[in-house]
Symmetry: C2
Subunit: 671 residues, 2 copies
């Protein structure tokens, strides 16, 4: 990275770094091999001018943005393929990895309309298609001869899968399946790439045969002509319109009117529909859990990285920006020297690291569980699912909040699109809703916790992530002895969770005795249940962070160990202070103890402050990834803001036509 022309305050910050940044980066990315691969890839991207917009796409119209995104996405596809072939590194997996690595960066701020083809369409063919069906479509899809997506959500139906309205009715006469959208609310709505991009689509619909409904199944549906790209007759297809973010994704709608497909287009790896309309049920419905968990691991990891990028931007800007004096006779200070600014930003650095380590821990669990699955053991699947649900909710909530904290900490300039916080925010916010709405997911975790609580009451041994509950079952409520040690604070989160779970469970039982159905009782207790699930997730985040940091500290330098342990302390103290009410209820912490905790927190802020820039630098995000005028490595904030402003199409002419058209007439017509 260039040593010249770097902002002096930023240079000074870097000179204060107390640890070896390379060592941090190697730990953060997962070793030398990973770092080399990452740098090689980044070096390639940064030197491909066609991957970078001359004029940022936020200046473009909705339609232009789509067109430019398609141009860029296909260019990237073609160039990356050629590059990998030349390097002798071409295979489908590596290809997707290279293309995907550009998402969530300044290069593909609005995501790509070709993404779902690889991450949903192809996996669905593999996962749900028979060998014959794979032979028919898989190669074509891998070669991009056909482009596809996956359509489940409908205009009137989201989370509740059984509520889907699209019908797929078997017509024995012609051996066809007839697709219909009986109402407007049955229209498929939201699938990415569906609007104008794809010509194939896997559609989820209620299967009917022999007068009976067999529930939701997947069907391969061609939606546009392969030569002309015209929508096929019997379909109504289009763009669902402008959104907060993901503006390049081309989310679409799709309505069916007696649209016929061959019976053989039903994906029949699991369930089957025979020639005479006989329906054969799938054997292992539980398997889809695995995919959901996998996606949620990716989400937690993505949240960590979006938050880390936002913190990088805000910390660098806060080191360059000078505003307000502390002592009246001194010059204006770097805004990071205001304690309030440290209180905003440093916890975001720590939280980003905590979420990353949590994702790694979850990934480990996922791998263990799927390898057990392959040998037929399903025991830990519900546990894995339960923890993944609440972690997805907690991580998306914290990341979105944290990104906004970073943005607001940059004052007015954070509001400019050239600061690029909005890309990260809209991505994190979307993740609060998609792949399971957060409240719905927390309730799933809560139901699992209630079940485990009741199993423990019956003396059953619990699986690892909920094992701590057993200590509290059937015991009188007792305050946990408080100390400021990190393991004790983490244990306090478990104590709080268990006690609140116990209370919620008691409320449910009380309501059932009062005449509520179990489901009504659960709904009436839902506010408490959501809180319990959140606490369970937060405890897991803290536990994962602590364990992974201690693991790293066994082999790393003492300088790095100090930094990592401080970051771990920060995230634990920060979280504990936010739950001070619960600490007072369920531990022996005193008024003095709380005041001391606040002081400890402030001491850690001061300890991390000199390394703030050092740490975000060591996250190793190149400028094109951050895509931010405020966050570039050189800290030339003001010049970059100015340069970005000059790209505005309004600045390409001295006088806009609206002067002659509207302003002048107004100014000449006396009021």
């Amino acid at each position: 990275m260039p040593a010249v022309d770097v902002n002096q305050d930023l240079q000074h910050e870097r000179s204060k770094c107390s640890f070896n940044q390379k060592e941090f980066t190697l730990w953060w990315v997962g070793g030398k091999d990973e770092l080399d691969k990452k740098r090689f890839m980044e070096n390639y991207y940064v030197n491909e001018p066609e991957f970078h917009d001359e004029v940022p796409l936020y200046y473009a119209s909705h339609k232009e943005l789509y067109e430019q995104t398609i141009r860029k996405a296909t260019t990237i596809f073609t160039k990356v393929r050629k590059f990998l072939q030349e390097q002798g590194k071409y295979d489908a997996k590596n290809y997707v990895k290279y293309v995907d690595a550009l998402l969530g960066t300044g290069v593909m701020k609005d995501s790509s309309p070709l993404r779902l083809h690889f991450v949903m369409f192809i996996p669905a063919i593999i996962g749900q298609g028979t060998p014959e069906q794979q032979a028919k479509w898989l190669d074509k899809a891998l070669n991009c001869e056909i482009l596809g997506t996956y359509a489940q959500t409908e205009l009137g139906h989201g989370t509740f899968l059984r509520g889907l309205e699209t019908t797929a009715t078997f017509d024995e006469r012609t051996d066809e399946i007839v697709l219909n959208s009986p109402t407007l609310t049955a229209y498929k709505w939201w699938p990415g790439s569906l609007g104008q991009t794809v010509n194939y689509c896997i559609v989820m619909a209620q299967l009917y045969s022999n007068g009976k409904c067999h529930g939701v199944h997947a069907f391969m549906v061609q939606v546009r002509d392969e030569d002309t790209h015209m929508p096929l007759p019997g379909l109504e297809i289009g763009d669902i319109g402008h959104k907060m973010g993901f503006k390049g994704v081309n989310n679409g709608f799709l309505g069916f009117k007696n649209y016929r497909i061959p019976r053989s287009n039903m994906l029949m790896r699991n369930a089957q529909l025979q020639r005479d309309g006989t329906y054969l049920k799938p054997v292992t419905p539980v398997l889809t859990y695995g995919t959901m968990v996998f996606v949620r691991v990716l989400i937690v990891r993505g949240m960590a990285s979006d938050l880390a990028k936002s913190a990088t931007i805000a910390v660098r800007y806060s080191s360059v920006r000078r505003q307000s004096v502390i002592n009246p006779d001194q010059p204006e200070v770097q805004i990071i020297d205001h304690l309030t600014q440290q209180g905003k930003l440093l916890p975001q650095i720590a939280k980003a690291i905590a979420l990353k380590l949590t994702a790694e821990n979850l990934w480990k669990m996922y791998q263990e569980t799927t390898s057990e699955l392959n040998s037929g053991k399903l025991d830990r699947l519900p546990e894995l699912h339960a923890i993944a649900c609440c972690l997805k909710a907690v991580s998306t909530t914290d990341a979105a909040k944290g990104i906004e904290v970073c943005r607001l900490a940059c004052g007015g300039h954070g509001y400019l699109s050239s600061a690029n916080f909005m890309s990260f925010y809209t991505v994190a916010m979307a993740a609060s809703t998609y792949e399971g709405e957060n409240t719905v997911l927390l309730l799933q975790t809560a139901r699992y916790l209630i079940k485990m609580w009741n199993q423990a009451s019956k003396g059953k041994k619990l699986v690892p992530t909920v094992e701590y509950l057993a200590k509290f079952v059937g015991k009188p409520t007792k305050r946990q002895p408080w100390s400021e040690s990190i393991p004790v604070i983490i244990a306090a989160f478990q104590t709080i969770t268990a006690n609140r779970l116990k209370q919620a469970n008691a409320r449910i039982e009380q309501r059932k005795r009062g005449g509520s159905t179990p489901e009504e009782a659960t709904n009436l207790t839902a506010l408490e249940l959501v809180r319990v699930a959140e606490l369970h997730g937060r405890g897991f985040v803290l536990q994962s962070t602590y364990e992974m940091v201690e693991l790293a500290c066994q082999t790393c330098s003492s300088e790095l160990a100090t930094v990592l342990r401080n970051l771990c302390k920060l995230v634990v103290y920060d979280e504990a202070l936010k739950f001070s009410g619960d600490l007072l209820r369920f531990t022996t912490i005193s008024e003095t103890g709380l005041v001391q905790l606040q002081q400890k927190y402030e001491t850690i802020l001061a300890a991390i402050r000199p390394n703030a820039v050092g740490i975000v630098d060591a996250f190793d995000y190149p400028d094109y990834v951050l895509g931010s005028a405020l966050g570039a490595f050189d800290g030339n904030v003001y010049q970059r803001l100015y340069d970005e402003a000059l790209k505005s199409p309004l600045n390409q002419e001295p006088v806009n036509k609206t002067f002659e058209l509207y302003l002048k007439p107004l100014m000449r017509s006396k009021l």
Copy 2:
């Protein structure tokens, strides 16, 4: 409002309303006269087709959006003027009122580039110009013969006024003032309408004469030619680029290079610069406080209304949307029947009302204080300023959070621009930064509170808003006896504030004894101070809500009184539960007490639930104000979402050109 074609679930909700909505609306808008005027105005707006976009502007490019906004703003100016003249109601104040009423509505989602002309430029001429200067510019400005704005913030300088870099140097030789931007960071940056719209600008710059700097003063500067609109030589002027929101405002930049204006263009109502360069100081620098407070009252009121609009949208949608079953054998329920949804939305209704009542209370204080000012009493100005600071911070924070809660509660569809939450969110979020960044404002309040605490220690009587502190000064810390009565909970907020203020003050003193300067000690205690100021503001919100509700209940029907008191309880319980840690520290509330408080909270949710739609209907926002497919009065959510999607320019042609240009080549070139 139409009775036909209304969604049946919504109709059913309306049939449950237990109070007289007209009575609520009259209370909410401030009486029959106000309601008549409001309805008259709305009726006019809704019937002017040119005020409404055929294609929503979020589909437009940055440049097109500017052009369309200018078109619409000038059309509105011209038509409203004509209309008012025909009605015999034309005067400048009424004119501005009519034009301003369209801001923050679906009609002017991105605000207007002609707004600052009326709310900053003209008031500055009146407030800071001499009679001669007013004679020269005021009529021209009122007639829109010249269009202006107000330029203070610079690229490198915001909050800290003294840090501004732009220089205005008196040249005695020519009797001129020479404006310069000595660096890029000195460029004016952010002023609305400055980019391409205005031809005049009031510029704040450091005045130099006779070799001395006299601090920041205001200068009238022509920036574009009146005939050609070309930027004048010596100026660099343009658009600062794309932003999160306020996209129609045309925020601009302005750099000076030896740009000369006559000495007489310095606004000299207060300070004066004489022909020989002699500088005469202003007499009453304190007067500018008044304007700041006035703007902050408007902000609090605006936040109330943005939150009320968001709640209206989300509550109506949640009554129409059905998703997931509660009892397995029953159909999917209205999502507002999930307790978690009630826990999200109903507090937002209550908070919107609380903020509105707080704004009214603040307005009353403002009027009292300014009338005292006019008779020469300045005593209550610092008090007013301190409470306005923290209320601006609390209201913008809560409104922005609340709007996002409403949006997220609408699931995926809340993410669509046609839902219109983003307009409200970006406005509320901008208000966290402009007119005093929230943290900076909270620290100003905190410094005032510390000062008052120390005055009280010396036995001085305190002014009303901080009078409660006196009870705690010099007394040993004692827990306040807890009860669930609303006045006791409000008093608990004062107890918490006072105790935390006491602690913060002690920490500052301790740090000073340890060798810190007073300013360093304050900075090191800033996290606690910010919290204290926030609590002070929250206490004021609760107190205002309670008082104003009780006042209303003295004259209103018992049905309405029940509703208003429930809403007041909801906002108080909700806030109390969020500060449960503080309640445990500073009151005698027990574990059981906390559990009971949660139950009370849930009981109030259940009590408000049947009236949720009734209340948001009674806020009386017409559809064009909400501008939302999800929130229209008729509840035809899905048809409206679909209709809005069809307006997408991508849907105007069956195949986008990118198929032939990019997709087909990709699909034909085997990987």
